[in-house]
C-alpha cells in the first residue's frame, strides 16, 4: 500500500496550499520583491566577471538583475522546501500525522506523498517565476523553458526532500527557524545565485564548490543560456546535473530511512 496513500497525501498538500491564500502570495511575492530590490539596488555596483577590461563589451555581459534571476528562481524552490519542512511540523503539531502513522501506510508511501506534494508546489511556482525571464533580459525559447523546467523539477525535489528530512528531525517551530537561518539561507547565499563564484575569495569559493546547491543554480544557468556562459566561472552542465541528481537521491534516501526509523517524536 504505497501509491493510493501517496496520491492522497500529495493531493492534500496541493489543496491545503491553495486554500491558504497568504501562502500563495508570500511564496511568489517575496522572491519577486527580493529580486527587484536587490537586483536594482546592487545593479550600479555590480560588474560581471570582475574583468576590469570592460565586461560590458563581452557577449556574456549581464547586469545584476539578470545575473540574480536564476538564483531567484532557485530561491522560490528553496522557500517551498522550507514550507514542506513547516508543513510536516504542522502536521505533527496539529495532530494530523498521528492518524497517518497508525494507518496501514508504508513509510515509503508517506515520504513519497509528502515529497511529491512539496515538489509539485515548488515546481509550479518555479515555473511561474521562470515565465518572468524575458523581463530579466533572459530570452526564453521552448527548448530553454523545457530544459529549465526539468532542472527546476530536479532541484525542487532535492530541496523538498531536504526540508522533509529536517522537518522529521525537528519537534518544534523554533528548531525550524534555526534550520532555516543556519542551513537553508546560507545554502542559497553561497550557491552562486547571489554573487558569482569567481569574485569570491578562495576560502569562500571552496565552500561554494562544496555546496550542492551551487550545482543546482549552475545547471539552471546552463539551461537558460544554451549558448554557454562565457566569462563566468560556473561548473559544467554535466557536472551540475550529476551532482544535483546525486544530491536529490542521497537526501531522499535519507528522508526515507529516517521516516522509517523515528517514531518517538510523533508522540505528544
Amino acid at each position: 500500500m504505497t501509491w493510493l496513500p501517496a496520491y492522497t497525501l500529495w493531493k492534500r498538500e496541493i489543496v491545503r496550499f491553495l486554500r491558504q491564500r497568504n501562502r500563495v502570495v508570500s511564496a511568489l511575492v517575496q522572491p519577486l520583491m527580493f529580486w527587484l530590490l536587490f537586483g536594482t539596488g546592487f545593479g550600479g555596483s555590480f560588474r560581471m566577471g570582475a574583468g576590469a577590461a570592460g565586461a560590458a563589451d563581452s557577449a556574456g555581459a549581464q547586469d545584476f538583475l539578470e545575473f540574480l534571476f536564476p538564483g531567484t528562481v532557485i530561491l522560490v524552490l528553496l522557500f517551498t522546501a522550507i514550507f514542506s519542512t513547516f508543513s510536516l511540523i504542522q502536521d505533527r503539531n496539529e495532530g494530523f500525522l498521528q492518524s497517518v502513522l497508525v494507518a496501514p501506510v508504508s513509510r515509503a508511501g508517506l515520504v513519497l506523498g509528502k515529497a511529491a506534494g512539496g515538489t509539485t508546489l515548488a515546481w509550479v511556482q518555479g515555473l511561474l517565476f521562470l515565465c518572468l525571464a524575458p523581463l530579466a533580459g533572459v530570452p526564453l525559447s521552448v527548448s530553454t523553458f523545457l530544459v529549465g523546467a526539468a532542472v527546476l523539477l530536479l532541484v525542487g525535489f532535492g530541496l523538498t526532500a531536504l526540508g522533509l528530512l529536517g522537518g522529521w528531525l525537528m519537534d518544534s517551530v523554533q528548531g525550524f527557524h534555526a534550520i532555516m537561518m543556519l542551513v537553508l539561507m546560507p545554502l542559497w547565499l553561497l550557491s552562486g545565485g547571489f554573487f558569482p563564484l569567481d569574485g569570491a575569495p578562495p576560502w569562500l569559493a571552496f565552500i561554494m564548490r562544496a555546496n550542492p546547491l551551487t550545482y543546482g543554480v549552475a545547471a539552471f544557468r546552463h539551461a537558460l543560456y544554451p549558448g554557454g556562459l562565457p566569462g563566468q566561472d560556473v561548473p559544467s552542465m554535466a557536472v551540475s546535473l550529476g551532482v544535483s541528481v546525486a544530491f536529490a537521491a542521497v537526501i531522499f534516501a535519507g528522508a526515507w530511512m529516517i521516516v522509517g526509523r523515528r517514531t518517538r517524536g510523533d508522540l505528544r
Binding site: 500500500m1 496513500p5 489543496v15 494530523f96 492518524s99 497508525v102 494507518a103 496501514p104
Partner: protein, 319 residues
Amino acid sequence: MTEMLATPDTAPPVEVDGLCRSYGERVALDGVTLTVRSGELFGLLGPNGSGKTTLFRVVSTLIAPSGGSARVLGHELPSESIAVRRGIGVVFQSTSLDVHLTVRENLVHQGHLYGLRGAKLADAVERELERVGMTERARDRVGELSGGQKRRVELAKGLLHGPRLLLLDEPTNGLDPAARRDLWDHLSSLRAEGVASLVTTHLMEEAERCDRVAILDRGRVVALGTPHELRSELPGEVVTIEPRAADRVDTLRDAIARAFEVEAQSVGGVVRLRTSETGAGAGLVTRILADFDSDVASVAVGRPTLEDVFIERTGRTFA
C-alpha cells in the same frame, strides 16, 4: 497435545500479557495483563500518568512494548503492525483532522490511506457521515465545526474502514456534557455491530458505561471487572469528612478512628471511612456532626463508587 490456533477473526481484539513499557528510566507500564473480548466496550480508567495512554499507544502500534506480549486481533505486536493497523480504528485525544479540508475530504483522505476507493469508499463515507449525523455538514471545512462536531467526524474517520476494534484515547476531553453523552451513546451502539472498543478515561461516570473496566495506577492493573463487580467488592457505605482546617486532616482522622472504632484514611485532604453495612452511614454522619462539629466543614455519605475502589486499592485519591 492439540494446539488451538486462533484465527484473527475469532481471536480476542486485545490480549496483553505482562506488558511493560518504559520511557528511559520512567516505567509507564509495569506488567499489565488484560483481554478485551469481541464486541466489548472496555474502559481503561486511571489518573494522569497511570499508563493508560501508553497502553493505548502500544495497542495502536505507535510504540513497541519493552517487555511482555501484546496481541491485537490475533496479530503480534510490534512485528505484525501493518496487519494490526488494517483492523483497528483509532481516535486520538487531540484532533487528527485537517482543518483546511472539508469533512468529506477528510474522510476520503482517510479512506485512501486504508486502500478504499471508488464506490466502496463513497458508500463508507456516506454510511459514517450518517452514523454521526454529519451528512449536512459534509461540505463544510473542519475548521468551522464545534468541538463536539469535530469529535463526531473523528469517530466517523476511525470507523470508516470497518475496523473490528476501535481504540479511543480520552475521546471526550474538552467536550461539553451533551457532546460527551452523544459520543458515549455512539460507543454503546457499536457493540451491536460487533465492534469492540478500548477507551481510556479518567472519568468515573464514563467508566460506569463500559462493559468492563480495568483500573490502572502507576503502570499496573489494580482492579478489573464490570463496574458492578468492582463496586460490589466494597460493601457498606463510604463517608467522607471534610475538615475545616486542611492541616488538621490527620488529627481529625485519628480522633474519628478512636471515637467510633473504625478504620479511617486521610486521602486528598479529606477523611474517608467505610461502614461495613449499608444504612449505617447515616447514623455515623449524625454522630460525627455531634461530636466533631467544630472541626468538620462537611460530611457526605454514599454507596462506594469506582473512585472508592481506586482509593481502596491504592490509598490515594484519583487526582
